[in-house]
């Protein structure tokens, strides 16, 4: 990969809010024209990362390279190229037309304004005649989200950053936002970074997924994060109760200041029946709750609920057919106590 194939290169990024470290990324590269999904629980640092990528905040430490050039936050050279749709998009107290045209107007780009607003609205499935003259307070949550999306799409940005774009919209709006995002990449080669809790939607749109937890990007793709409380049975083993009498025993961290454990999906096996007792082998009984197709690889991401804990596995189509797996089916998950990483 040459330098110019990269939209972003983040080096040694650390970001603090007060004394709290919210982001710690050693090295992250994002290719031009790619769609990257960000996965992680609330407060993991997804929104902060998007703000840094939007150059709307200056990282406390480290550098962000855009197309091979070091760029500082709020730089005027970058403002017209990168745009971010925030989780709760703010609509200006104006009409829909004025909201969508705002970005172009401040760029003094008023050519064919009406037609461009019309096209932008059409891209997100809204009719110009019905919506252009509506005021900001006359829109539903989904419509407001789509208007905010249209206000970004009309700018034809090189980078489109979306923070939970479908958090408050219905299925139809979610589909329209996905189509509009894909069109941005296909029509003018936009690079997209999207944070979402809706894994099915995210997997249907993104080429690559990054898991983020406590400000660290620790893998590509979804991983299983098990948070405390843990019971220290002895110096070597930590135990997590998962309900219905089931427990997970994990090799204790050294030092024992870590608060969450990662069980990588490749270390978890799936079976239909329990194996004879083996030392240090966790065997959990659960049900498949969802199965998602990974667009690029053709693998299936299966989410298994073990009481109130959800674990993700990446399965091949052969595994699915040989075990005859389907949502609702009872399965046994097995993994070694040693196969744990503490964070």
């Amino acid at each position: 990969m040459t330098k110019t194939d990269l939209a972003y290169h983040l080096q040694n990024i650390q970001h603090y809010y007060g004394n709290t470290k919210v982001l710690d990324i050693n090295d992250l590269k994002i290719e031009k024209g790619s769609i990257t999904g960000l996965i992680g629980p609330n407060g993991s640092g997804k929104s902060t990362l998007l703000k840094l990528l939007a150059f709307a905040e200056k990282p406390t430490r480290g550098h962000i390279f855009y197309e091979g050039h070091r760029v500082s936050a709020f730089s005027s050279s970058i403002r017209s190229k990168v745009t971010l749709l925030t989780q709760k998009p703010y609509l200006l107290k104006r009409t829909v037309f004025e909201n969508i045209a705002y970005g172009l107007k401040i760029r003094k780009d008023k050519k064919n304004l009406e037609n461009r607003v019309k096209r932008a609205l059409l891209n997100v499935g809204l009719d110009y005649q019905t919506f252009a003259s509506r005021k900001w307070h006359e829109l539903s949550g989904g419509e407001a989200q789509r208007v905010a999306m249209a206000a970004r799409l009309i700018l034809k940005p090189e980078i489109l950053l979306l923070d939970e774009p479908i958090a408050s919209v219905d299925t139809e709006s979610a589909g329209l936002i996905r189509d509009a995002s894909l069109k941005a990449r296909d029509s003018w080669g936009a690079t997209l970074v999207i944070a979402s809790h809706d894994l099915q939607w995210l997997y249907s749109i993104s080429d690559k997924q990054l898991s983020i937890f406590k400000g660290n990007i620790f893998s590509t793709g979804m991983e299983n994060i098990i948070t405390g409380p843990f019971i220290k049975t002895n110096k070597k083993i930590f135990v997590k109760k998962v309900g219905a009498g089931q427990v997970i025993a994990l090799k204790a961290p050294v030092p024992n200041t870590y608060t969450a454990a990662i069980i990588r999906k490749e270390n978890i096996s799936i079976a239909l029946e329990k194996q004879p007792d083996k030392n240090r082998l966790n065997q959990l009984s659960g049900h498949i709750v969802s199965m998602l197709l990974e667009k690029k690889s053709g693998h299936i991401m299966a989410a298994i609920a073990v009481h109130d804990l959800s674990l993700i596995l990446r399965l091949t189509p052969d595994q699915i057919s040989s075990l005859d797996l389907f949502p609702g089916k009872k399965v046994i998950l097995t993994f070694l106590s040693n196969d744990v990483e503490w964070i």
């Binding site: 709307a56 403002r79 200006l92 705002y102 970004r152 700018l155």
Partner: protein, 228 residues
């Protein structure tokens, strides 16, 4: 009770007949209060924006001083302005004492902290996502400032109306700095005070009605603007 009813009737007669002493007081009031409002908005709006938008050392102390200024008695402002613009004062050479300009200076001092404080509070309460939205839509500093002000336009209008109400109804500054000179510096409020002292309730009520009408029109205009 009869004298109040009779006062109302006489008041309407005075207003309809175009009584010169009544209408010159109305005109003087409108002129001086509009002038002081324009000055206080011109100075208070940018100061309020800076105070509300930026965090800086000493901001808290500045807010305390500003909040104290909100409660300044009009007679104290009148006294201070009198001292400054009287013959012996530092601005004595300008001959501003007992002029409408002198009253406007005092009323500007009265309205400035109101406009500044309400603007600052309005700006402070701006949705945090607004600035982020503007930055990510490509707005530069100038556009961020103008768009933020436009977004809180109703709050700023409320600041202006509140200050206008205070300026319109004050007596202390107009009386001390203006001197209540008939056909010259007599305003509605000083005229009401004088006429009531003289027992001429009708004149006082007439001017009071005009004052209420002005307040009503200002609030009606604000309400109309909000609907737009």
């Amino acid at each position: 009770m009869d004298f109040i009813v009779a006062g109302f009737i006489k008041a309407l007669e005075l207003l309809i007949s175009g009584d010169s002493s009544t209408w010159t007081a109305v005109w003087a009031t409108l002129k001086v209060s509009t002038c002081s409002m324009l000055l206080s908005i011109g100075a208070g709006l940018p100061c309020g924006f800076l105070l509300g938008y930026f965090d800086f050392k000493g901001k808290k102390h500045l807010r305390t001083i500003l909040d104290t200024m909100l409660a300044l008695p009009t007679v104290f402002i009148g006294l201070a302005v009198y001292a400054i613009i009287s013959r012996q004062g530092p601005l004595g050479d300008f001959g501003l004492l007992f002029t409408l300009t002198g009253i406007a200076i005092g009323q500007t001092i009265l309205a400035f902290p109101i406009v500044t404080a309400i603007t600052a509070s309005t700006i402070e309460n701006i949705d945090h996502d607004l600035k982020l939205t503007l930055v990510t839509l490509g707005a530069g500093k100038r556009h961020i400032v103008t768009t933020c002000l436009w977004e809180v336009r109703y709050g700023i209008l409320a600041a202006a109306v509140t200050a206008y109400g205070r300026v319109l109804t004050e007596v202390g500054i107009s009386m001390m700095v203006g001197g209540n000179i008939k056909y010259h510096t007599r305003t509605i409020t000083t005229a009401i005070a004088l006429e009531t002292n003289k027992g001429l309730f009708a004149d006082g009520i007439a001017l009071g009605l005009v004052l209420i009408m002005i307040a009503f029109i200002v609030n009606l205009s604000l309400s109309f603007l909000r609907k737009q």
